[in-house]
Amino acid sequence: MQLFLLLFFTLSLYASEGEEIYKNACVSCHAIDGKSSNNLAFLVKPRKLSLTILRNQQSFAITKEGAHFWGAHSDIMPSFKYLLTDKQIHSVTDYISKTFNPNIEKKIAKLMQSSQQLTLLQRENRLQLGEKIFKKTCALCHGIKGDAKSEYVSASKENKTFIYPYNLTRTLLDEEQIFLYAKYGGLYWGTQKDNMQSWSSRYNDVALKSVAYYIQQKIKKLD
């Protein structure tokens, strides 16, 4: 019984530390409710943490190294590794996951389950199909190597529409998450810009799963 109380007390402290850090370090952009509905939101366009596709350990990685390290163009979401210890980062990302997005694993599993499953033949051919689609569509923004260097990005600077696609060579999303992100688009997963649109009206699940497989196998360099 005493051990149980001690464990409960320790966990409560851990949770409150995370909440404390969140209120000090994260609220100014992500807001108290994790929905980024605050005064700075229109400027920095932070993600809505209540909708993020990230799993807890991925939130830890982003918070520790910053979004730029993982492929974002900007470093508006900075690295906190010089400000917080790993234990502190764990406590704040635990708080974020449990408070704002506690069902992400179930949500991912459910969406995957309801998606079209690949046949054996489709699984065998997915690399070729994924490559074809990637080069036809994804590469226009993300670049042929997935490193976010493309003619379209250069043109967006000239015409001042400023598109900043992710550097997919550094993404920490796994294959399932890449598929779901492409299928449902950025807004669905908490971004405030519609630059990465839902591709479900253009490609079916088989095609999008093939693209995700191609990105996982041939584009991603970090794992």
Partner: protein, 103 residues
Amino acid sequence: MKKIVLAALLISSSLIAKEYIVDQKNKTFIPGVLNVKVGDTITFTNSDPLSHNAYTDDVGNEFDIGMQKKGVRKSVKIKKAGKFEIRCAIHPHMLIKVTATDK
């Protein structure tokens, strides 16, 4: 004689290929439906500040105009009859439904 000239003019005008202008505005192809004949031309214009694209994989009519910046015009010729779709490779919702018939 006048009747012959008039008839010749009418026949030749029906044989002359037409040009259809499709604008890209607010991430939409305008118009979104085209009824064309083989030999006609579709010219794409871009009124959006951002760049667009137009392509089709329809066998016999395949084309890809590449990246199209604002103000640039690009044309393609219809080569084969049939129904097919033209899309923008950058913006997945942009779509033209084309019906092409023989002359």
